[in-house]
Amino acid sequence: MNKFLGYVISGLANGTIYALVALGVVITYRVSRVINLAQGATGVLAAFLFHYTLMGKFGMPVAIATVVAILFGAMLGAGVERFAVRPVRHRGALATLTVTTGVLLMFSELTVQIWGPNNPPIASVFSDHVVHIGNTGVTVHQLATAALVLLISGGLYLLLARTWFGAGVTAIAQDPGAARIVGLPVNGIITATWAIGGASAALAGLMYIHLNSLDQISLTFVLISSLVAAALGGFNSLPLAGAGGLAVGLIFSLSQGYASVAGIGELLVFVALLVVLAVRAGKPQLDVVAEF
């Protein structure tokens, strides 16, 4: 039982991070109809900058370095939208998807080119002090990650449901042409959502690297986990994407824990995606993904 609880907790801790990346993917997809494959790589770039350059080279305090890294992530997100995605948007979904693929490869390779292929243990704002809940130990970092993700999800919900900005996002998601006609700054809102996506990716990167070592391969795993999570909700639903992230985290942690076969988690996530797609294919499609 203890073992089981341990797997569940570590699965949920990683799952909240997948959920955070997935939320970023969904929110950028809703306004721009572009699936940002570079989301995970943005987070890694920000996390490595945080560890090596901000903390290592400049010796910043952890809290300030965290803030700077998140701002850097937001800049990266906005920059990708402004200088890579927007110029090719009129050429359709194939072009934008290829562009984000290229950005993914570039960010991931830049990380290795600049900082080398080793995976450092990265410091966290929170301590690794173990708190006991019942019989199982949880680190403060894990708890704080879960709490932060909940907080951010709540904040995003309020931002989208209660503010002028959120109304703009909904308007653009429904009809970008009409949104432009009523005078919304469509391009500005799109860039801002990409900045939010980049910032959440950076935060996720910082949290993830502290829990797991991160090389290029596990980066692709973070990416695929969050994409699968987002695909669960048809790239449209924030709650479903969040739930998907937690589910992927749980599947991965439990299968890895009990089966102890290398790569079984990756296999199960792939199978789960196939099942979800097979179920979805039977239903009428409401969202038009490719034709925007």
Partner: protein, 372 residues
């Protein structure tokens, strides 16, 4: 007279035709005059060209992206090593591996291609990760250590030397290119382009979309698997799982983008670029994948369809300079201009490419080339 000759000359020296003849001659002759180390990269180029072709037909013909194509190479390589070590002749191993690749692709293609949009991309990505971490690490598939891949002869043609293998791959590549080129010109090819340009319009014309997309994906996977077989033969042993990982798939995607996804020739050009890139980037101590990703982004931002697309644009510019009539986005059919010059001409404009925002359409009526 001048008017009649210029277009036919243009047709005779069309980019594809001239390029094809020059390329074919060069591909046959260059290994005779070069040192051995070049033969290795030549064979790698031809193998990458096969990968490029598999992606060109997928990306260029159906508008879908695969981020797990390296996994198909992996299956081709590992299954191929087993077959060749069991003394299956190479000529028989090629169709078996192609069938295996196509069969595996159905597992992915059938669920994800029935849905419109990006689901194939995500499924292939998940497939790539699952292969890299699970399937390719099973001892039953690869073995715990690298296995020797014997270089069997193709129809009596020895592939022991890199030069011999090069010609063998070249034959397979030529057959694949010819097949692809023929399919493009048939009704099947036209249906595929209709689907790529607008699924809704194609469906309205009564075309069943999913079988075509699944079929092209299967053909693409089959070609990639064959490329994997030759990849293994080139290195004489089975590489580790990380050689067929997701990063490689991303890297391979640069081939159709850099070479050009519209034309089949783009596969050959893109493949040669990436294969010969490694010794070049070593001089500057940067990572090949980084360079290729930057090149990919620049190519996409330039709006050109790869090198082949650039050649097309250059030819168009040249033709415009000669004929002095730039028609950018569509064709003008002046019905009544020549017949009744006293009436206002009726011009039908058909816009074939999506226009960027704020485009101004200017029409200037120029009399036909023959100034009577």
């Amino acid at each position: 007279m001048a008017r009649a000759r210029t277009p036919s000359l243009m047709r005779l020296f069309s980019v594809e035709r001239v390029g094809l003849v020059v390329l074919a001659a060069a591909a046959l002759l260059w290994p005779l005059f070069t040192p051995k180390v070049a033969h290795f990269y030549g064979t790698l180029s031809a193998t990458y060209a096969l990968v490029g072709l598999s992606l060109v037909i997928l990306v260029g013909w159906t508008g879908q992206i695969s981020l797990g194509h390296a996994a198909f190479l992996g299956f081709g390589c590992y299954i191929g090593a087993k077959l060749l070590n069991h003394n299956v002749p190479l000529l028989l191993a090629i169709p078996i591996i192609a069938a295996a690749g196509a069969g595996i692709s159905l597992v992915l293609g059938v669920p994800s291609l029935r849905l419109r949009g990006v689901y194939l991309t995500i499924t292939t990505l998940a497939f790539g990760v699952a292969c890299q971490r699970y399937f390719f690490t099973r001892p039953q598939l690869r073995g715990s250590n690298a296995v020797e891949v014997p270089r069997k002869s193709l129809l009596g043609w020895s592939t022991q030397s890199d030069r011999g293998l090069y010609y063998a791959v070249l034959v397979v590549l030529s057959v694949a290119l010819l097949l692809a080129w023929n399919i493009r010109r048939t009704d099947t090819g036209r249906v595929l382009f209709a689907i790529r340009d607008s699924e809704v319009a194609a469906a309205a014309m009564g075309i069943k979309i999913a079988p075509y997309k699944v079929g092209v994906f299967a053909a693409s996977a089959a070609i990639a698997a064959i490329a994997g077989l030759f990849y293994g033969m080139l290195f004489r042993s089975t590489p580790g799982a990380d050689q067929f990982g997701v990063l490689q798939s991303l890297f391979y995607l640069a081939m159709p983008v850099l070479g050009g996804a519209e034309a089949i020739l783009g596969a050959v050009i893109g493949g040669s670029f990436l294969a010969t890139g490694q010794p070049l980037v070593n001089l500057f101590d940067v990572r090949l994948y980084l360079v290729s990703s930057v090149a990919l982004l620049l190519m996409l931002l330039s709006g050109q369809d790869g090198v082949v697309g650039m050649l097309h644009t250059a030819r168009k510019t040249l033709a415009d300079a000669i004929r002095g009539e730039p028609i950018r986005y569509g064709s003008f059919v002046p019905e009544t201009v020549n017949a009744h010059l006293d009436r206002a001409p009726v011009v039908h404009v058909q816009i074939t490419e999506p226009l960027p925002e704020g485009t101004v359409i200017r029409a200037r009526l120029v009399r036909g080339g023959a100034h009577t």
